[in-house]
């Protein structure tokens, strides 16, 4: 096998082009740093998105042999392993912008309820930062990418002075909000990285509701258009597409000095060299990369002498309830697409009421899919058939509301990603094995999550579709993996310092969700962006001072 290597030694190599990698490249190049970015795929061309293709036309196109962009990585190409009794649903996107091409756009600030939580409840370690450290970066991110939301501010969900106008809630959302208020539960405007007015030269959303297929006018934050392209314009960024990173290389001093990767098309092995490495390949792939980066110096993987990397994997627990609000039954049908997904959000509240609980941490609630949707699958559960069923489905259709609570899971040492005994992928690199299970804490939290949903729906006098109380989505379904290369003040119990720099290898920074110390109940991407910006500001300063 011929090994090709580049003689160039780059200032910084960034592995990954999603929220974290995109932000790292954008922030470093604008400060004059030369960056080489390795992206496991290629750009997803916006003109090929099927944003306005109707369900029947979609079917016809497929029958003619066409297909929309394949955002999601096929596990036949890159498998992963789980124990049979503990399935984990892993979703990955290998391509420019990563999961931000199709993400949910939910953009919620973490708070000291998250950062300092472990100090209060004693479970595992707290973050080595507090809200005051990240707040200026949240402000900057809000202004850079455009986040719409209200003017609310509370301890579990800090406010922002920079929100774009919040979209008006739909009728069903208003009715849930009203009912919840009557029951003492606060539901506020949702916070979404969607442009509800023109922002920094980008067009506003046109409310077609097809965001999950990719936005053909780039009206929601995606790392490709919002970060990588501007970084490229600085002429300080070089991108290698179809580069599947395998291992970080180290020199005799124990510092990282390059990356081994494989060409996704030819499967040829290549190496690139750099003075600093930023790891941003998304939690599971970054962790696999770090664990596979073994050497005599780091037999357990680079920066992993304390056996922390790979452990403490957190996802979030979640379930879904479907119901119908009486005021809207049999009523007119509106265009309820809005900005795609919820316009409202229920922040965590369980830490405030003074009640003693039999679980730690908390949950929030989302409300995707309220109003008229482009399907009526719930109709399968309505009784009967024939003209009466048809009429019943029509009557229920405008009145649909859906509740999706998300709960924080505890970091557990035994929830981990390993590569030791796993099969090799098509490039000869060990795949990831994910061993993950929730515990009593999460099941007990789920009881209160169900109770809260039931309280809101009862207050709304809603007709609730049958559900199995206690049921939770398959782990991994929330697509919020965190924690396997966590930040912490103590180098014995963490892999990264407060600036996401490896304790053990000073020229490696890890800036995606693997760096998180806790999972929170909130979606991570806004925090990934803020922390990556902060980490690369620090990195650039250290570079100027000659310390990194």
């Amino acid at each position: 096998m011929q090994v090709k290597s580049s003689p160039t030694v780059h200032d910084v190599i960034v592995i990954g082009s999603g929220a974290a990698g995109g932000m790292a490249a954008w922030n470093l190049t604008r400060q004059g740093v030369n960056v080489l970015m390795l992206d496991a795929g290629t750009r997803f061309p916006r003109t090929s998105f099927w944003s306005h293709v109707k369900p029947w036309d979609w079917r016809d196109r497929v029958d003619r042999g066409q297909s929309p962009p394949s955002f999601y990585l096929d596990t036949k190409e890159q498998p992963y392993e789980t124990p049979e009794e503990h399935p984990f649903y892993l979703i990955r996107v290998w391509g420019r912008g990563g999961k931000t091409n199709v993400w949910g756009r939910v953009s919620l600030r973490y708070s000291d309820v998250d950062f300092a939580g472990p100090e209060k409840d004693g479970w595992e370690i707290p973050w080595p930062i507090r809200y005051r450290d990240v707040a200026p970066y949240y402000d900057k991110v809000d202004q850079l990418i455009g986040v719409c939301g209200g003017d609310d501010d509370q301890d579990s969900l800090p406010g922002s002075r920079y929100h774009l106008p919040a979209p008006a809630p739909r009728c069903g959302e208003r009715l849930l909000q009203k009912a919840a208020k009557g029951a003492g539960v606060s539901i506020v405007s949702g916070r979404r990285a969607v442009l509800t007015r023109q922002h920094r030269g980008r067009a506003a959303c046109h409310y077609c509701g097809a965001c999950g297929r990719g936005c053909d006018v780039s009206a929601f934050f995606n790392a490709s258009d919002y970060l990588v392209d501007p970084a490229f314009e600085t002429k300080k960024l070089r991108i290698v597409d179809n580069a599947v990173a395998a291992r970080i290389l180290v020199d005799d001093r124990g510092l990282a000095n390059g990356v081994q990767y494989f060409d996704r098309v030819t499967r040829e092995e290549k190496k690139v060299y750099g003075k600093r490495i930023v790891v941003a390949a998304s939690c599971v792939d970054s962790t696999r990369l770090l664990l596979n980066s073994r050497s005599d110096r780091y037999p357990n993987g680079i920066g992993n002498s304390n056996d922390v990397i790979g452990r403490y994997l957190c996802e979030q627990i979640r379930f879904h309830l479907t119901a119908f609000v009486p005021e809207l039954l049999g009523g007119p049908v509106h265009n309820d697409d809005g900005i795609g997904g919820e316009h409202i959000y229920m922040p965590r509240f369980n830490h405030r009421d003074g009640r003693q609980r039999d679980y730690l941490r908390g949950f929030g609630m989302q409300f995707w899919g309220c109003g008229a949707q482009d399907s009526a699958s719930w109709g399968k559960k309505l009784p009967g058939f024939g003209a009466s069923l048809k009429a019943d489905i029509k009557r229920h259709y405008p009145a649909l509301v859906q509740l999706h609570p998300y709960g924080e899971t505890l970091p557990r040492r035994e929830n981990r990603i390993t590569v030791e005994k796993t099969p090799l992928d098509r490039y000869g690199v060990p795949i990831a094995r994910i061993e993950y299970a929730i515990g009593d804490n999460e099941h007990q939290m789920a009881r209160e999550m169900y109770e809260t949903c039931e309280t809101i729906l009862k207050a709304a006098k809603a007709e609730v579709m049958p559900y199995a109380r206690g049921h939770l989505d398959t782990n991994g379904g929330a697509i919020h993996e965190h924690g396997t290369c966590r930040m912490g003040a103590d180098p014995k119990r963490s892999a990264l310092n407060a600036f996401q720099q490896m304790h053990e290898v000073k020229n490696v920074f890890v800036v995606d969700g693997s760096a998180f110390t806790t999972a929170s109940e909130k979606n991570p991407t806004l925090t990934i962006l803020a922390l990556a910006w902060r980490a690369t500001d620090y990195m650039a300063e250290e570079m100027r001072a000659g310390r990194v």
Binding site: S51, H52, K54, P55, W56, R59, D63, P167, A168, P169, R170, C171, E173, R174, L175, Q177, K178, K181, Q198, G201, R202, A203, A204, H206, Y207, C208, G209, A210, D216, V217, A219, E327, P332, V333, N335, D336, D337, G338, I339, H343, A372, Q373, D374, S375, A376, S377, G379, K380, G384, F385, G386, A387, L389, K390, A391, I393, K394, Y397
Partner: protein, 189 residues
Amino acid sequence: MNRSLLPDRRDALVQITAAAAALPALAHAQQEHQHHDAPPASKPTTRKIRVATAEQFALLSRVADLIIPRTDTPGAVDAAVPYLIDREMARRGDGFRQELTSGLQELDREARRREGRVFLDLSEERQMALLTAASEQRDTPLRHLFDTMKNLVIELYYSTPQGLKQELGWNANTFLPEFPGCTHGEHQS
């Protein structure tokens, strides 16, 4: 003239460019809006049966018709749902196809057992009675057939223009300059 009320030229260009990019969608949306209240334009069908036999297709068509019949709006047969079920049989592979066809055979067996004739030879009233009985059974092949057909018909019918647009009134996935949301005072907190 108050200059601050005029859109910035760059803003105007941005919006025009985005509108142009979405123009095919807007034109499409406008066409859809024009067609929204009218029955879908009939066109000569070029649909072919892919994998079902003629007998199987006739039987599943009748069951689909009973599950979502034509009323004052098109039903499942009008919306070509039997062809879409046949398409699912082709796409999901032999296991699913056998499961469905053996369920249809079970339906005929039950019809012969109860009424002495195959399902298609029964009156509509007797067909409805047989399907009702199937829907009330527990853990039987006939109940499984009923559930499978009901799920398929609902999933597929409401993914057609007849089901989603004409019957339910869906008018979305289009281009809106603004989103008004709820405008009903009685819904507010």
